[in-house]
């Protein structure tokens, strides 16, 4: 296929999945979806290989969805699927690593023939069980486990499954609202793909998929071939709620002959008793993100561009966890996955990487009663610290990396619960100094306007071990989580007094190069 024809069809396909993802993001009830774009949307061929993906979403989701395609095709042989079928799962090990993320796949038909699938993963408002946070002791405490099932069978809703979901989540209206959005967006995408194929004169996407995947794989391997062969090491340590220190070690092997990169997490920490364990899919997602963002960020994400990057980790370690460990807050560890990889890549492409940053965003949820005695549960909200510095540019202050979460505006939070913010400002001097300085963290402070005790669930990290500097740059400041001025480190929900004042000081990013 020539480079003009393919460009036209390919960019149209990416635009189809991107538009659907944007629509999903706008209408989702889940705050993490709308503010963070914590969703993914993709087209798969009939072998379950990801052909094109929306240019939106967070790294954790977009690359986890890529892995789910294969599992769906294995569970549901394509010849058994009919128009109107809708497939679903939230199995952490088969999709995005915790129950909140529900993946929905719709077989796409063109002129009566199955040609592929449109899939999406979004973070739902609730999935029963423990709720937001890292406090559950095993995965079963964390909520409803939906195996690979049909949500609709030839257009008929699976009533049993609908009732099971309805009785096992706290916010059924919102969960069903978001599921309906996932189904309708995939349906619209299917229609738009059909129209595109008609316009361009294709019967199916087999040839296109082959071209897209093979060209992407070839280009990725070519980019790798330009790198210096060797095995490069990186290590990152950080503390998590409860005070444990987690260490992630990576050996990044670049094989220019094969055009392959292997990332090995041997030597990393073992499983945690808290719900911060990471399934392989999610580790793979953040690892490939780190490599691809330095190697060739403009290359579209698909089965081919991901194939030359292999990720291995010892069975059962914190980044390749096994049933039945809890996984609910897996982002706390998962968002650190790029750090040791970037440190290893520093030896190969120092101009592309950044120094360590604050890592995982700090997440907060509050429950209590307002001054009329009515109960409320806030949605989850989050704050970021400073990003690490780049070789020739400072790290942005109070900006999240590696994920792309927006903070919920103060006025929106204050309108939704009796919270009163007293401060949200940069934490001056918290970014590490260096030839390029790291970004500053921020100081956030609030009290509640209530007469009764309230529950606080804060997932903070790096309150002890600060982000390191790179190439002689100085470290950023470690974070501080204070209640009434005193430091706390708690993985579970805390009972708070009405007048308690909470202060979060998020970490600053590391500097790059000696000052």
């Amino acid at each position: 296929m020539d480079g003009i024809e393919l460009e036209i069809v390919w960019s149209n396909i990416i635009s189809i999945v991107s538009e659907q993802a944007k629509a999903l993001q706008r209408i989702a009830f889940s705050p993490i979806v709308r503010e963070a774009g914590d969703l993914a949307n993709a087209l798969f061929d009939k072998r379950g290989r990801m052909v094109a993906q929306a240019v939106t979403g967070t790294p954790g989701h977009i690359n986890s969805l890529a892995a789910a395609g294969k599992h769906f095709v294995e569970a549901f042989p394509t010849q058994t699927l009919r128009e109107g079928d809708v497939l679903i799962t939230n199995d952490p090990w088969l999709s995005a690593g915790h129950f909140f993320d529900i993946t929905v796949m719709l077989p796409a038909f063109h002129k009566g023939k199955l040609i592929g699938f449109f899939g999406s993963t979004i973070h739902h408002t609730d999935i029963g069980g423990y709720g937001v946070g890292a406090g559950a002791r095993d995965v079963h405490e964390e909520g409803l486990w939906i195996p690979m099932l049909k949500l609709y069978d030839a257009g008929e809703p699976n009533k049993t499954l609908f009732e099971m979901i309805r009785r096992n989540v706290r916010t059924p209206d919102h969960v069903f609202g978001d599921l309906a959005a996932q189904v309708s967006s995939a349906r619209l995408a299917g229609k738009r793909l059909s129209a595109l194929l008609d316009r361009q004169g294709y019967e199916d996407i087999d040839e296109l998929s082959e071209e897209i995947i093979s060209r992407s794989e070839k280009a990725t391997r070519e980019s790798i071939r330009k790198l210096k062969a060797g095995t490069y090491h990186g290590e990152s340590s950080f503390d998590v709620p409860g005070g444990d220190v987690i260490t992630l070690k990576t050996a990044v092997t670049i094989d220019p002959k094969l055009g392959e990169i292997i990332i090995d997490f041997a030597g990393s920490s073992g499983p945690s008793p808290y719900g911060i364990n990471v399934v392989m899919n999610y580790t793979h997602a953040y690892s490939t993100f780190a490599i691809r963002s330095c190697l060739d960020p403009e290359l579209p994400n698909n089965f081919g561009s991901l194939a030359p990057i292999k990720v291995v980790a010892p069975e059962g370690c914190i980044v390749n966890c096994k049933y039945p460990v809890p996984v609910n807050a897996r982002h706390v560890v998962g968002m650190y996955v790029p750090m040791p990889i970037l440190k290893a890549l520093y030896h190969v492409m120092p101009e592309r990487v950044l120094a360590e940053g604050s890592g995982a965003v700090w997440t907060i949820q509050i429950q209590g009663r307002d001054d009329r005695g009515d109960p409320f549960t806030s949605s989850m909200f989050n704050y970021s610290g400073g990003m690490g510095a780049r070789q020739t540019k400072p790290g942005p202050s109070a900006t999240c990396y590696p994920t792309g979460v927006a903070a919920v505006p103060i006025e929106v939070l204050e309108a939704s619960m009796p919270i009163l913010f007293t401060r949200k400002e940069l934490r001056e001097g918290s970014g590490g100094t260096g030839a390029s300085p790291g970004g500053d963290g921020q100081i956030i402070q609030w009290t509640m306007r209530t007469n009764t005790d309230w529950l606080l669930n804060t997932v903070a990290s790096r309150t002890d071990l600060a982000p390191e500097g790179l190439a002689g740059g100085r470290p950023g400041a470690a974070g501080r989580f204070l209640v009434n001025g005193k430091p706390v480190s708690e993985a579970r929900k805390m009972v708070m007094k009405p007048d308690d004042q909470v202060t979060l000081e998020t970490p600053g990013g590391g500097g790059y190069g000696a000052a």
Binding site: G3, L6, T399, A406
Partner: protein, 688 residues
């Protein structure tokens, strides 16, 4: 004695002027913009148009209307005077922290636009309003006076005030303003509760800061225009074009300069709306392709769509999120990096890519012969034979065909194809990417784009419009007359209009209708006062009422418009129905179980529009082609007839392939299309 109307549009490069007599005769001119002193260029253009018509300023008894890029320029070039921002104590870094988001996930080298006011010029003031609107802490007068003294000492010229929750209660912001004005009567002060009373502190603050930053530039500028017009003997004060697609009096424009951002493109959309009316078409897709970008805008029910927000100075490939957000009503346009200067290249995937990098005007396309070596869309158009190397800008600028062919051939080698096939590929790829953007823009708004006629203008628009129309399954392309000064013409057919809104979070099931009445009463009152500045009498004004709503639990609102004044019936069920109808149109969903939340109330107030048709001189005798030119269509080189637009007669039909040349652009009629000259002067291309 005939009466005349005058319109001036100052763009980045050119200042356009249109003078119209009440019999419909028009005189136009295009002069260079004078960026250092815009009013110099303004009057140069005005004098030239008046001289052409041979009239005195006193004969301009109808309106003088003005669209200008002054605000956008001040922001992009960061040339505002010393401006300070006052915020609630404890929230000093609001402009630096933004929403903490990275707009581009995969690029670790990401950067953000420099805020208009830095942290060093931002000051916290002790005060607090709660989310209920109640004042928790009144303004600390002593502290406020101390801040005022500091600002004075620092020589601050303009101040923005943005306190938390002030959109619900302006008391503390006003108290602060009064203290400042008392000490410094000449200080410019903008307060967020006036400029953008909407929830969400970052975009509201960004808006009021841009207002404060530009007020000291626009104020004297507009004063100079008023004085200059008066001195020359013009009878009326000018009306100013706003981004919402309305004109307003100088008095209001001076208070809210941020609403003038992008007033030129808005005027272009209004011109499209005018022709929709004249031609009796309910819907159009206006398509404006220039040197670096293409803009599309949907005209629905003969009016451009208007949205509640905008972004200025996008620093990263026109990407959403990479600019400064502002909460102003603006004509809802999509802009992508596809224009005549967009550079074509072959990616490492072996794909032909066009844009978003642009050769700009310097060095410009290879064909400009100014040292550009990257083949662009304009080069492709030239190689395809669509443009004439000897007749570009009426022959004022000679194009280098050989140079363009040489670079195109290089690209062809990489793709394994011929020079003209690469050029055809560029033409197709840029057409596809503009189509994809337009399609997405329409789908996002729940509009079926198929069958909607295109309204094509801009230097490159008419060259590419037929192709884009084919892709959009559109049966008609309209090429308006006066295309080279279309925005200026658009201001003449723009009514006075103000879009106002007020944030007020409430669940529909428990909304306090008495409070709603109060909010809408105030919006109506403000709109009446504002439109009075444009000479509208109270009984001439029509109102449209709307609200931003969402299902409770969501965070993104949908704007829906009511058929009637909601103050009359207090009918929650009707409000729900309006919202759900709009929501279903956008997302193909209804969620009957979920309550609805109102986020803000909206009002559009519109004054009367005088009829200002233009009479176009059309020839009586059908023109013959002046010559033919080899051009490539669908893979074949054919000798296409070339016509001069000014020679065409009313009713004349031309079958594609054909080329119709104007001074500033070229219309390409593709095979299968037939162009007909309408009595309005529009060329209408249709497809069977």
């Amino acid at each position: 004695m005939p009466s005349y109307a005058l319109a001036v549009d100052i763009g980045g490069t050119f200042t356009d002027v249109v003078l119209r007599s009440d019999s419909g005769q028009t005189w136009v001119d295009k002069t260079l913009t004078t960026p250092e002193q815009l009013d110099v260029g303004f009057f140069r253009a005005v004098d030239s148009a008046l001289a052409k018509a041979g009239i005195k300023p006193a004969a301009v008894t109808d309106v003088v209307v003005h669209a200008t890029t002054v605000v956008t320029n001040a922001v992009i070039e960061r040339k505002g005077p010393r401006t300070a921002l006052l915020v609630t104590e404890g929230f000093r870094d609001i402009l630096t922290i933004r929403d903490e988001h990275r707009y581009e996930m995969f690029d670790p080298q990401i950067e953000f636009p420099e805020p208009l006011v830095g942290s060093d010029m931002t000051f916290g003031v002790k005060e607090r309003v709660l989310a209920t609107g109640a004042v928790l802490t009144p303004l600390d007068t002593k502290a406020a006076e101390a801040v005022a003294d500091e600002l004075k000492a620092k020589g601050v010229v303009s101040v923005a005030i943005s306190f938390l929750n002030a959109y619900l209660n302006p008391a503390n912001e006003r108290a602060m303003r009064d203290i400042l004005k008392k000490r410094m009567p000449n200080l410019y002060v903008s307060i967020s509760s006036d400029v953008a009373p909407q929830i969400r502190e970052y975009p509201r603050t960004s808006t009021v800061v841009m207002n404060a930053y530009t007020a000291p530039i626009t104020g004297p500028y507009l004063d100079a225009l008023v004085a200059g017009l008066k001195k020359r003997g013009f009878g009326n004060e000018p009306l100013i074009m706003l981004s919402n697609g309305g004109v307003i009096g100088v008095e209001i424009a001076k208070i809210f300069p941020v609403r003038m951002v992008e007033s030129g493109p808005a005027a272009g959309a209004l011109a499209a709306a005018y022709f929709a009316e004249v031609l009796g078409l309910d819907r159009l897709l206006s398509f404006d392709m220039g040197g670096t970008t293409a803009k599309a805008c949907i005209i629905e029910d003969r009016h451009p769509l208007v949205s509640g927000n905008f972004e200025v100075d996008r620093i990263y490939r026109f990407k959403s999120g990479s600019g400064l957000p502002i909460l102003i009503p603006s004509v809802d346009m999509i802009e992508i990096g596809a224009g005549g200067g967009s550079i074509a290249s072959v990616s490492n995937l072996g794909l032909l890519k066009v844009g978003p990098q642009s050769a700009g005007s310097t060095p410009g396309p290879v064909a400009y012969g100014r040292g550009g070596t990257n083949p662009t869309v304009t080069d492709a158009d030239l190689v395809l034979g669509y443009l004439d190397a000897d007749n570009f800008l009426g022959g004022d600028m000679k194009l280098d065909l050989k140079g363009a062919e040489k670079q195109m051939a290089e690209l062809g080698k990489k793709l394994g194809t011929s020079t003209r096939d690469v050029a055809a590929g560029i033409y197709r790829v840029v057409g596809e990417s503009m189509t994809a953007a337009a399609r997405a823009h329409a789908v996002d708004r729940g509009i079926d784009y198929r069958g909607v006629p295109l309204f094509a203008f801009g230097g490159a628009g008419p060259v590419h419009a037929c192709y884009v129309a084919d892709l959009l399954e559109s049966p008609m392309v309209i090429y308006p007359p006066l295309a080279s000064v279309l925005s200026a013409f658009g201001t003449l057919v723009t009514p006075p209009r103000l879009d106002l809104s007020q944030g007020a979070l409430a669940r529909l099931s428990s909304v306090d209708w008495h409070g709603v009445d109060g909010i809408i009463d105030k919006l109506v009152e403000d709109a009446r006062k504002g439109l009075a500045s444009a000479g509208c009498k109270p009984d001439e004004i029509t109102f449209k009422f709307g609200a931003d709503m969402r299902y409770f639990g969501q965070q993104n609102e949908v704007t829906a418009w009511f058929d009637a004044d909601p103050r009359k019936k207090h009918d929650a069920a009707a409000v729900r129905e309006v919202f759900e109808t709009e929501y279903e149109k956008l997302y193909s969903l209804r969620l009957p179980e979920v309550d609805i939340e109102i986020v803000s109330w909206r009002l559009v107030a519109t004054g009367p529009l005088a009829s200002r048709d233009s009479k176009i001189d059309l020839k009586g005798q059908p023109a013959k082609p002046s010559r033919t030119r080899s051009a490539r269509f669908n893979g074949d080189d054919v000798q296409a007839p070339v016509y001069a637009r000014r020679e065409l007669a009313q009713g004349q039909s031309i079958d594609g392939p054909a080329i119709i040349e104007e001074r500033e652009t070229t219309i390409i009629i593709l095979p299968g299309w037939r162009a007909t000259v309408d009595k309005t002067g529009c060329i209408m291309a249709t497809k069977d």
